[in-house]
């Protein structure tokens, strides 16, 4: 009791309870994944008990491994394809939208801002239903499958680019562009030369986020799929996980995870490089984590 009192009495000391709690949280959060990864190396068919070590489910098994089962690697290919399209379209679209929204005053600006943030609070099943119905009943020239899924991913992710970039813009302020304008640059030139370089961290961060969101997406990809050939990794995990699951699913998920991390790492290192080149100090990770709070205004 006395130790508790002393601990309570010193708020600047290490709060042991919080340390323990946070440690437990991190364990609870991440360890199951590590275990799932462990089982992907199982020699047997079990997904709940350890059964030896082998690469059977990655490359070995001639029917069911990720390498050989066409449904599994087509799912991986489809996920990567959609993620790439999503990043390439959403980032420019979102950056333009964010810059425009932040600086636009007057009628319509508030409404436009509202519309841009609305997807954030829309459950995916609502968006999936909406898009499915619009492609079936109205815009029938757009077939279900990759095109429809890509449109869904872009629509769903654009809000994250907006939030991140807007947050950065509000922190930067307009002084740099105004200075450039005073020196004779046109509006476009001011943006290109003064603003965009400062936005690079936000752009890279939003690209990473869009990539991760797209790889992770389930509901929209499932609703707008045209068949097994356009199933993504989460859709495959869900449908195969409910019927005849093998550790190949764990292997597929692990491969996807590794790919996502690699892409994110590449982006992160790029960003760190840019910051170092500019002489900025401080935690890059911290800046990344703080980006989202500002933009939701």
């Amino acid at each position: 009791m006395i130790r508790v009192r002393t601990w309570l009495g010193n708020p600047w000391g290490k709060p042991r309870f919080l340390v323990l709690f946070t440690a437990l949280y991190l364990v609870w959060s991440i360890v199951p994944i590590l275990i799932a990864i462990r089982f992907s190396f199982n020699e047997g068919r079990s997904r709940s008990t350890a059964q030896g070590w082998s690469l059977r489910w990655y490359t070995g098994d001639p029917d069911a491994s990720v390498l050989h089962d066409p449904t599994l690697h087509s799912a991986l290919a489809q996920s990567l394809r959609l993620a790439a399209i999503a990043v390439l379209v959403t980032v420019p679209l979102g950056v333009a939208l964010a810059v425009g929204l932040t600086r636009w005053r007057g009628r319509g600006a508030g409404t436009a801002r509202g519309i841009s943030l609305a997807t954030l609070v829309t459950p995916e099943i609502v968006m999936g239903t909406a898009l499915l119905l619009v492609f079936i009943e109205l815009l029938t020239f757009i077939p279900l499958g990759t095109v429809a899924q890509a449109i869904g991913h872009i629509t769903f992710s654009i809000v994250f680019v907006v939030i991140i970039v807007r947050g950065r813009l509000l922190a930067i302020g307009p002084e740099y562009e105004e200075a450039a304008r005073d020196l004779g640059a046109s509006r476009l030139q001011a943006i290109r030369l003064a603003l965009l370089p400062m936005l690079i961290p936000a752009v890279v961060a939003s690209g990473i986020i869009v990539f991760a969101i797209s790889m992770d997406d389930f509901v929209i990809s499932a609703f707008l799929s045209s068949g097994t050939d356009t199933d993504t990794v989460p859709v495959r995990i869900y449908s195969q996980g409910r019927t005849a699951p093998t550790p190949a699913l764990n292997a597929l998920a692990t491969v996807t995870l590794v790919l996502t991390i690699v892409i994110a790492l590449v982006g992160f290192l790029l960003w760190r490089g840019v910051r170092a080149a500019r002489g900025q100090t401080g935690s890059t990770v911290g800046e990344f984590a703080a980006l989202d709070a500002e933009g939701v205004r």
């Binding site: 068919r45 492609f135 045209s226 068949g227 097994t228 050939d229 449908s239 409910r242 019927t243 005849a244």
Partner: protein, 357 residues
């Protein structure tokens, strides 16, 4: 009944070469041997790709909406009428399907599609009750009313019904001695809805993966399709023998019976190839291999003698009740198409049950 033919939905011309694209199949999971797909792909030099649906409702809706184009589809006979009327299936050119003669005579010219204008048969099945002999104390035969086993407390949490809005209610009707499983009487519908809901206390679950739930031990009692009972033997984990499987169907033959068929959707991109695929599956060798090695469901091929199937070791002795004969259709109760109002009432009642009210 003879299905109508429409001018704006013609069959393909005879004597065409099969296309070289990817054959797209829309089917139940576990209902087609991957080796068959590979064999067909090799023989015709094409790619074969299969997409799965989990419930009949889902499949019919996708085909009805016309939003996706598959080349081969496997409908059930109680939904096929509406798909034909709605021109979602194309009439078959039987000149591409000479193997149709291998089928049971009564199904070459079936009551639901006289002249096999739009469909050819694929698999026949019955709906009974599957169970794990090594896990449960009382089998359906130990009950005066075998359907009572669904309420056996000893199996709480391990009891499954089929996730099918026609099959599951049918067993509730049969439990109460109602043999018209296509009834549209509101009292009957209310009855089966009440019976289904009384199973909530048993933590009842619904699934169409009976062929894995039972062998994996997820389920000890499962409303089951006969083919799943036979097919379950290939999903048993190590150390569990086929004697752990059991299947019950009414001895007097008054139970749900059905026949699934193959059809070609109207907007198929590779219709000629699709016809060839249908013919391929009706070849006796392929049909037998599909059945005996992977699916477990029985194709209605004349050369397949139900009596020798046990002797050949294809069907374990304790699952003899799961074999379907042509004569079973005499007494069996097929599911037939409901009127639109009836369909809506059945569906609403089923949705209520699924809501866990």
């Amino acid at each position: 009944m003879t299905q109508p033919l429409f001018d704006d939905n013609p069959m393909i011309a005879s004597g065409l070469e099969p296309e070289s694209g990817t054959l797209r199949i829309y089917n139940w999971n576990g209902y087609l041997d991957p080796k068959i797909k590979k064999g067909f792909a090799k023989e015709y030099g094409v790619k074969v790709e299969e997409t799965f649906f989990t419930t009949t409702d889902e499949a019919v809706q996708k085909i009805s909406s016309g939003a996706v184009d598959y080349d081969v589809f496997f409908p059930t006979q109680d939904r096929v009428g509406r798909l034909i009327l709605g021109k979602r299936l194309q009439p078959l050119n039987l000149e591409y399907i000479p193997n149709l003669k291998n089928v049971w005579p009564s199904l070459q010219d079936p009551w639901y599609d006289k002249g096999s204008q739009y469909t050819v048969p694929y698999m026949t099945w019955t709906t009974g009750i599957g169970y794990r002999t090594d896990k449960i104390e009382k089998t359906p035969l130990d009950y005066a009313n075998p359907y009572e086993i669904y309420w056996d407390e000893a199996n709480r949490g391990k009891m499954f019904l089929l996730d099918d809005g026609r099959d599951a209610p049918a067993h509730m009707l049969l439990k109460n001695g109602i043999t018209n499983i296509n009834t549209e009487d509101p009292d009957d519908i209310a009855l089966w809805e009440k019976e289904l809901k009384s199973l909530y206390d048993m933590n009842v679950k619904v699934s169409t993966d009976d062929y894995t739930n039972i062998p994996e031990g997820k389920a000890w009692v499962h409303q089951m399709w006969s083919g799943s009972a036979i097919g379950a033997q290939w999903y048993l984990p190590e150390g569990v023998g086929t004697d752990a499987l059991g299947f019950w169907f009414p001895a007097d033959g008054v139970g749900t019976i059905g026949s699934d068929m193959m059809a070609v959707p109207k907007d198929a991109q590779n219709p000629v190839l699709a016809h060839h695929f249908l013919d391929y599956l009706l070849d006796v060798k392929n049909g037998y291999s599909n059945f005996a090695n992977y699916v477990g469901y029985q194709p209605p091929l004349t050369k397949l003698d139900p009596d020798t199937l046990v002797a050949d070791g294809v069907v374990p002795k304790n699952l003899k009740t799961a074999i379907v004969r042509e004569s079973d259709f005499d007494k069996g109760l097929p599911l037939t198409e409901l009127t639109p109002d009836g369909q809506v009432n059945w569906q609403n009642a089923w949705a209520e049950f699924r809501a866990g009210v």
